[in-house]
């Protein structure tokens, strides 16, 4: 029987870490992910885990140590947020290009400035081209479920890429909700042992990791790395199908909430989706056909699949919880707009930036947005700006 509990998102992910019991965790504390290395350290001190915890002097060192451990053949994890991830930047690319399936628990927080500790997706969205798989959660349950699935995806022989399991800072990480946990033995059997084909501590094989590549080889190396991200699509779906069998919970690239017959859709990532679902239920009771596409997998980007799911919508709001300073809207809006164009969608699109520096996104905000979508569907899109903010004083 599954265990019913009440946990914050950080507690839930730390619990998954305990159940998986990886070999090595180098980590450095930063709000709001500090609890993750803290809980793991407690588990180790209490004899409930035998992970080698490395207290490093910075996040650059955390990711460097993770790369070394993973290349040596150890299943490795770390955790960070915001500026911590920014300090890992150089090494994020090294982890991915050396094909090291490290799991990173990211608790999304704004990057400076202004200095702010609250939820935003600017940290992981900034790292969207670093070559990491990125999976996002709506609540603590999904953060837990995603972390349990992480190594199965990352360590698959056709993938061998690092994976980022993201949850919204404070809103999920510190908000306590009901959760259903799997039994330890079920998780252990599902995740299995890590048996890399090649690793530095293998005394039967010599190995060099991260060699220099001159111009005549570098482009081929990058193309091969891109193939691994393409291969991750099928692996993510296969692992989700297998996970459904042990958990009863269904996952894919995204969740469609009352989307099938929806005229008006919101596309969003993370905790704002729960808020949007409440707004949809209220609007549906009044006969307004509102729906949601909640993005779970952002890397690899399931653009064609999202465009297909949105094909009957008249107007779509694409929501980014980060300002990318491109003067063109956020990254989800930019990439999904391109996918809709390629799919020859005729839907009206509103690009939205919301929730910066932890600004609330409310049910009222979502309902107002659906009203705006209905208006542009009926009367045309007369937006004068490329994108707009929600929840901004203006």
């Amino acid at each position: 029987m599954a265990v019913k509990e009440r946990m914050s998102g950080n507690e839930a992910v730390a619990y998954a870490m305990k159940q998986i019991n990886p070999d090595v965790m180098p980590a450095f504390p930063i709000t709001p992910s500090t609890e993750l290395p803290q809980f793991v350290s407690s588990y180790i001190a209490n004899g409930e885990m035998d992970t080698e915890f490395i207290p490093v002097e910075s996040e650059h060192s955390a990711m460097s140590a993770a790369i070394g451990a993973e290349a040596a053949g150890a299943r490795t994890m770390t955790a960070t947020s915001s500026a911590g991830m920014a300090l890992m930047w150089e090494m994020l690319y090294v982890a991915a290009s050396n094909r090291l399936p490290i799991a990173l628990a990211l608790v999304n927080r704004a990057l400076s400035g202004p200095l702010n500790i609250n939820c935003e997706h600017s940290d992981s969205m900034g790292a969207r081209d670093a070559g990491w798989i990125q999976i996002y959660a709506e609540d603590n349950q999904e953060a837990y479920d995603n972390f349990v699935q992480a190594y199965r995806i990352a360590e698959h022989k056709d993938v061998m890429l690092p994976i980022m399991i993201c949850q919204d800072g404070f809103i999920i990480s510190h908000g306590v909700q009901n959760i259903e946990l799997l039994e330890d033995e079920k998780v252990k059997a599902f995740v299995g042992e890590y048996e890399p084909e090649h690793y530095l501590l293998n005394e039967k094989e010599t190995m060099a990791v991260g060699p220099y590549a001159v111009t005549n080889y570098g482009m081929e190396a990058k193309r091969a790395q891109a193939q691994a991200m393409m291969n991750a699509r099928q692996v993510i779906l296969d692992v989700a199908a297998e996970y459904e069998k042990i958990s009863g919970r269904k996952y894919g690239f995204f969740e469609e909430y009352r989307l099938e017959d929806a005229d008006y859709a919101i596309v969003a990532i993370g905790s704002a989706c729960g808020t949007t679902k409440d707004a949809i239920d209220e609007l549906r009771a009044k006969g307004i056909k509102a729906g949601l596409l909640k993005v779970r997998v952002f890397r690899p980007f399931p653009g064609a699949e999202m465009a297909e799911a949105l094909k009957n919508c008249k107007a779509i709001a694409i929501m980014d919880r980060c300002e990318s300073y491109s003067a063109n809207g956020g990254p989800l809006a930019a990439e999904l707009s391109a996918a809709l164009f390629k799919a020859k969608s005729t839907a009206e699109v509103l690009k939205i930036v919301y929730g910066l520096n932890g600004r609330d996104f409310t049910v009222e905000d979502a309902k107002k947005l659906y009203e705006d979508l209905a208006d542009i569907a009926a009367h045309g899109n007369h937006e004068t700006e490329e994108y707009r903010y929600i929840g901004l004083r203006d």
């Binding site: 094989e205 060099a208 990791v209 080889y217 081929e220």
Partner: protein, 100 residues
């Protein structure tokens, strides 16, 4: 199908490279002829050489082979022509020649 390092060359397709260009064989640097980078070339004057072997540990590319306690001529396949051996030789037995 990933190839071994010695079989990879400038015509190799991306599908045939190893993950992350990892290398699973020892001493593959032997296959990489760094001597092609050389612009100036060290030349040994056998008359002046006393076989003190001081030049050997100074060579950063292990391009001065030693056999039976005596140094042989340079390994020009791998010598990059840095000229450190010229400075290391106490007897002026090595000089730099312009070009390869």
């Amino acid at each position: 199908m990933a190839l071994s390092a010695k079989d990879i060359n400038e015509n190799t397709r991306w599908q045939d490279l190893t993950d992350g260009l990892q290398i699973y064989e020892p001493a593959t640097s032997k296959n990489f002829l760094t001597g092609e980078w050389r612009t100036n070339t060290p030349v040994l004057d056998q008359e002046k050489c006393r076989n003190c072997l001081l030049c050997v540990p100074y060579c950063p590319d292990s391009s001065i082979p030693v056999k039976n306690g005596k140094r042989l001529d340079f390994d020009y396949d791998h010598c990059k022509g840095c000229g450190i051996c010229v400075k290391a030789c106490p007897f002026g037995a090595i000089s730099m020649k312009e070009g390869k």
